[in-house]
Amino acid sequence: MQPLSSRSKIVSNKTMSWSERLYIPAILAGLKVTLHHLFKKKVTVSYPEQTRPHSKFYRGRHVLKRDDQGRENCTACGLCAIACPAEAITMVAEERQKGEETLYREEKYAAEYNINMLRCIFCGLCEEACPKDAIYLTDTISTSGYNRDTFLYTKDMLLEGALPETRIDIQARRKGQREGAM
């Protein structure tokens, strides 16, 4: 019969020779292997001190962006929530009042914006769906927690600061996306 692949092997039922049945040469060979590993470079990354290098457009924790005048970009249109395959995003929209023009860029804004990080799969579809450049995934690694409540990220945790020095830079990610598209 023709073999299905070239990788098939004929099973060998040969009995071991006397020297093989002593097992001692085999054990010594095994000891040599383990001794070699003793001096090998360790693969462990001691996480909090060292981090594994990742690409510029790594998809980590989300950020809600502001525009260059410090106003929130998000208009609570809900496209990110619709795009989200894990249904992790929920929001409550609110109308902008008079005198709040310095806080929100457009007439509508998100009063509440929650991401359940236990549901989030970091696919980045929210960022693709957003027409207002409001939500981005940063290269910050999303932290772990001791109970479920700590994974419910609210708007104040996600929103970047209004001051220029507290802004979160996502230029690398934007550029990376452009490179990826090319």
Partner: protein, 344 residues
């Protein structure tokens, strides 16, 4: 009187050293395991994780102590105690260094240089099986009982071959005292070690020592993959700690005995020239250090083998013990006897 004080001091120091070495064996076991598996091992408690054994000890003591309702309570408590006591008792007859002069008398660095030292060791080691057997039986748990039965069969089987390989050493030395066995290995340059005279005996003794300590590849009594935890399944808190700790004390003591019987104890090459230069006490300290270096190597060897060879199946274990090691050790004994008779 000063000799008595010296001996009591020696007992205390040995007790602390045994416990200290055992504690740091748990640390180095984890480190060696990690390094062989290309990991880093414990490195959070103190620099390089040096304080790990202390953290482990505190953890063990703080754990809830559970005595199963259906167990035999007295025996359940007695089990780990017997194991620990027998593990610590063996160190009494091991010569740690050459004699030093106190009050004009030559006193060996040994708690008791009894003339049947090696028999004492064999006796105490066989007592150790009771700790495991009692603990496993008193737990009233089938896994614990199976583990205990395995442990006792294994220890009894391998004691035979171990005893036979020791007989060959007794014949070449002509004495049962471990002190005499060590001084007998002085040779011309301090290299008349028994390993060169009895390589087969050494191999048998080494394999049996692994089996007696319940170390991989002979760790069937506590094979966690098939027997939950073996004989200590029902144990928790410091009682479990005692069982685990006794294993490391046993490892330390068997390394010391292997060194004494086959690797010349505290002897090292050109020791006569060194002792001519140095004073008596510094030389004794140097000898003790050499002895400990050899012991530490064997402790490392125990760990090295653990992460190299997989566990035996029970029938393989029995085959090796009864059909291979026992005949080989008898053959070794007969050959040694024949050579001694022919030479005399």
């Amino acid at each position: 009187m000063t000799i008595l004080v010296f001996k009591i001091l020696l007992v205390l120091v040995l007790f602390l050293i045994s416990l200290g070495v055992a504690a740091y064996s748990t640390y180095s076991e984890r480190k060696v395991a990690a390094f062989i598996q290309d990991r880093l091992g414990p490195n959070r408690a103190g620099p390089f994780g040096i304080l790990q054994p202390i953290a482990d000890g505190i953890k063990m003591i703080m754990k809830e102590e559970i005595i199963p309702l259906t167990s035999n309570k007295i025996l359940f408590v007695a089990g780990p105690a017997i194991t620990m006591i027998t593990a610590l008792m063996t160190s009494a007859v091991i010569p740690w260094g050459p004699s030093v002069t106190i009050d004009g008398m030559k006193v060996p660095l040994q708690v008791a240089d009894i003339n049947i030292g090696i028999l004492y060791v064999m006796g105490v080691v066989s007592l150790g099986v009771y700790g495991i057997m009692i603990g496993g039986w008193a737990s009233n748990n089938k896994y614990a009982l199976l583990g205990a039965v395995r442990a006792s069969t294994q220890m009894i089987s391998y004691e035979l071959a171990m005893g036979m390989s020791i007989i060959a050493i007794i014949m070449t030395t002509g004495s049962l005292s471990i002190g005499d066995m060590v001084t007998g290995q002085h040779g011309t340059w301090g290299m008349g070690w028994n390993i060169f005279v009895q390589p087969l005996g050494f191999l048998i003794f080494l394999i049996c020592a692994f089996a007696e300590c319940n170390r991989t590849p002979f760790d069937l009594p506590e094979s966690e993959t098939e027997l939950v935890g073996g004989y200590h399944t029902e144990y928790s808190s410091m009682k479990l700690g005692f069982y685990l700790f006794a294993e490391y004390v046993n490892m330390f003591i068997s390394s010391a005995i292997i060194t004494c019987l086959y690797f010349g104890g505290y002897h090292f090459p050109f020791m006569d020239k060194v002792s001519a230069i140095m004073g008596e006490v510094p030389f004794a300290i140097l000898c003790v250090m050499v002895f400990f270096l050899k012991i530490l190597f064997f402790i490392f060897f125990f760990m090295w083998v653990r992460w190299t060879i997989p566990r035996f199946r029970f029938d393989q274990l029995m085959n090796l013990g009864w059909k291979v090691l026992l005949p080989l050790s008898v053959l070794n004994m007969l050959a040694t006897g024949t050579i001694i008779v022919l030479n005399s």
